[in-house]
């Protein structure tokens, strides 16, 4: 595993040789007439560049990017650590299928910038209530039998909001990837658990050394120490070279830049756990682990516009921390009636699941919304049902910060007006608190 990286000079020489080869086909492409009369990009230099051959680019006509998290209190901004990097949301309104392209996957780091880790120097230590504390290199972890699983990640800060203009605003703090790595249960066999082992403390290498307590029952169930994401090494903003994947649980459990796992007898009440295990509202408690059933229509959704009357496909994503999605129903009349949608792709536990429902739009006003039921029989609530459970008025519901409410998985309606313009279907409200603001 100690192969020397090719020298820059050798790489450049090779690149120049390849560039020479590429020149001819590029010239041909420029002169070829469009086969079907559609627009062909002129100046295909970018598509034919050696860079694009070595590491593919998307079409320059595809411009979807992540949405940078807003900062609503700039006057009260504390000094930033250096480096600092803002969080960003997945542009779900343009999503296709169930896999989120890694470049578009939402990213949040707990207040500090990304560590720039050399994987040949990175180590993972397992210790605590174990028979044999061990230190693994990344290469050693890759010598253990890996598994690949498709799972969603979601920040607890995701919440339907009347102030969200797009589905990225309301639900963009989720993404779904294929994760490849070593089951944590296997690593725990390597070290051997001692009596009294009940919790795992996972720690990252970021500035704040983010730390999270995970029940051993979950660690032994389906947690992964992942080094692969969508067929390539996990990217730096997702935890390169190692991250924990805790399927179905809140995003905060999925510790990035993972460097240490300590087996202990109780949760360690790390910084962000005080407000969770000991929240100001006891109703939070059972909800701090896995997400409930959630779904949202991604097309058509806020800021989309239906250009003509006729045939469309209402399409969206559903997921649940409780397991696979059993059923998604779609309403075009604001929830008065529902029709069962087709689950059009893989239906996997704790993964985004694509649902579709063909729909003919004749120019009428419509309110589109979806409702998810998971394998445990848990059903996605409406905003009113959620508020009633908490005993909160609607303004109180939105004035509470997301993490204090558990998981805000209520139904998000989208309103289609007579000219086809799509906007948020939740009635306006003055103030919406956001844990990512500022």
């Amino acid at each position: 595993m100690k192969s020397k990286p090719p020298s820059r000079r050798r790489f450049l020489k090779k690149g120049i040789a390849l560039a020479g080869l590429a020149a001819a086909p590029a010239g041909l492409a420029l002169t070829a007439p469009p086969a079907n009369g559609q627009t062909v990009a002129s100046g295909t230099a970018d598509l034919n560049s050696i860079d694009a051959v070595l590491y593919g680019h998307r079409s320059r006509f595809v411009t979807t990017v992540r949405a940078i998290e807003g900062m609503s209190h700039p006057d009260k901004m504390p000094p930033r650590p250096n480096p600092y990097r803002p969080s960003a949301r997945t542009p779900l309104g343009e999503s296709i299928g169930i896999i989120t392209p890694t470049s578009l996957h939402f990213t949040t780091q707990h207040f500090y910038g990304l560590p720039d880790i050399n994987p040949t120097e990175h180590k993972l230590m397992l210790h605590g209530l174990v028979e044999r504390p061990l230190v693994f290199t990344v290469d050693e972890l890759k010598r253990l039998p890996p598994v690949s699983r498709i799972h969603f990640l979601e920040c607890v800060g995701n919440r339907p909001s009347p102030n969200g203009k797009t589905v990225a605003d309301t639900h963009g703090r989720t993404g779904c990837s294929e994760w490849t790595g070593v089951p944590l249960s296997l690593l725990l066999k390597e070290v051997g658990l001692k009596d009294g082992a009940k919790w795992i403390i996972a720690e990252g290498s970021d500035g704040g050394k983010h730390e999270k307590s995970i029940p051993l029952s979950k660690a032994l169930d389906d947690v992964l120490v992942a080094y692969g994401q969508n067929g390539e090494p996990v990217r730096p903003d997702h935890g390169f070279p190692l991250r924990l994947i805790v399927p179905g649980f809140e995003g905060i459990y999925n510790v990035k830049w993972l460097r240490r796992l300590k087996v202990v007898d109780q949760p360690y009440l790390t910084f962000q756990e005080h407000s969770r295990f000991l929240g100001s509202n006891p109703k939070t408690q059972p909800d701090t682990y896995d997400f409930g059933p959630t779904s949202v229509i991604t097309y058509p959704s806020g800021t989309h516009r239906l250009p003509v009357h006729g045939v469309y496909v209402i399409s969206g994503l559903a997921w649940s921390g409780g397991g696979a999605v059993r059923r998604v129903e779609v309403s075009t009349d604001g929830g008065k009636t529902y029709k069962e949608a087709d689950l059009s792709g893989p239906v996997l536990p704790k993964a985004h699941t694509r649902f579709v429902l063909p729909w003919k739009w004749e120019g009428e006003e419509a309110v589109l919304q979806s409702r998810c039921t998971d394998v445990k029989g848990q059903v996605q609530p409406t905003e009113a049902e959620f508020a009633k459970y908490w005993g909160l008025t609607r303004p109180q519901l939105y004035a509470a910060i997301q993490s204090q409410l558990g998981h805000c998985n209520w139904i998000q309606p989208w309103r289609v007006n007579r000219d086809g313009q799509v906007s948020n279907g939740l009635p306006p409200i003055g103030f919406v608190a956001d844990m990512h603001a500022g």
Binding site: H127, S217, L278, V379, A399, A433
Partner: protein
């Protein structure tokens, strides 16, 4: 290994009190155990290696609720006030920990509109030490010495009315601080693959 790592930390103090007595003999015996741990049985795969004691000391930042892992060192409210002003805490949290703009550290109440849980309501004092040590100051995390962390912890506990002016915070006294809302902590709920969410809406 937890216990061993902790004991090794405490052994760092032992030259200052070295006498041939039962405690020292005990420490020597422990050193023998530590040496043995380095030659532990291999893992089932044969991969990985045992961490050195130095690695465990340097890497194991986790301080549990009971503070078993707290390192040597000490600090007082008066020392903490100086550290708070001089090491950058006050520039974000305000000179008395109440002005912000960073989260209010003194006298705050937990609310539904904040993601931060005021430290006065934390059930265990060693958690405060852990977080300051691991993540503060914000722009230079991990830059404080153990004594400075004890001092700032003492400053904050005093400002929140939990300890007195002259109280010295060290591993022993900090783990014995009785937090005012300790009784409210019921511990986490268990999790199994069949656990359902706190509430569901009937179909």
């Amino acid at each position: 290994m937890d216990r061993l790592a902790t004991d090794c930390r405490r052994l760092a103090l032992w030259p200052t009190c070295m006498r041939v007595d039962a405690a020292t003999l005990g420490a020597l015996v422990l050193f023998g155990v530590v040496a043995a741990a380095q030659q532990q049985a291999p893992s089932p795969s044969g991969l990985g290696r045992a961490p050195t004691q130095a690695e465990l000391r340097a890497w194991d930042l986790s301080i549990g609720p009971e503070g078993a892992e707290l390192p040597p060192g000490s600090g007082t409210f008066a020392q903490g006030e100086v550290v708070f002003m001089q090491r950058g805490c006050a520039s974000c949290h305000g000179p008395t920990g109440t002005e912000g703009p960073a989260p209010v550290l003194v006298g705050a109440k937990p609310t539904m509109s904040s993601n931060y849980f005021p430290i006065e309501y934390w059930p265990f004092a060693p958690s405060i030490w852990d977080y300051i040590n691991r993540a503060m100051p914000y722009d230079r995390p991990g830059n404080l010495t153990a004594n400075e962390v004890y001092a700032v912890t003492a400053f904050l506990l005093n400002r929140n009315g939990i300890i007195r002016d002259g109280d010295v915070m060290d591993a022993n006294s900090l783990r014995n601080v009785r937090m005012p809302h300790r009784a409210d902590y019921k511990g986490p709920s268990p999790w199994t693959p069949d656990t359902r969410r706190g509430f569901t809406i009937a179909p």
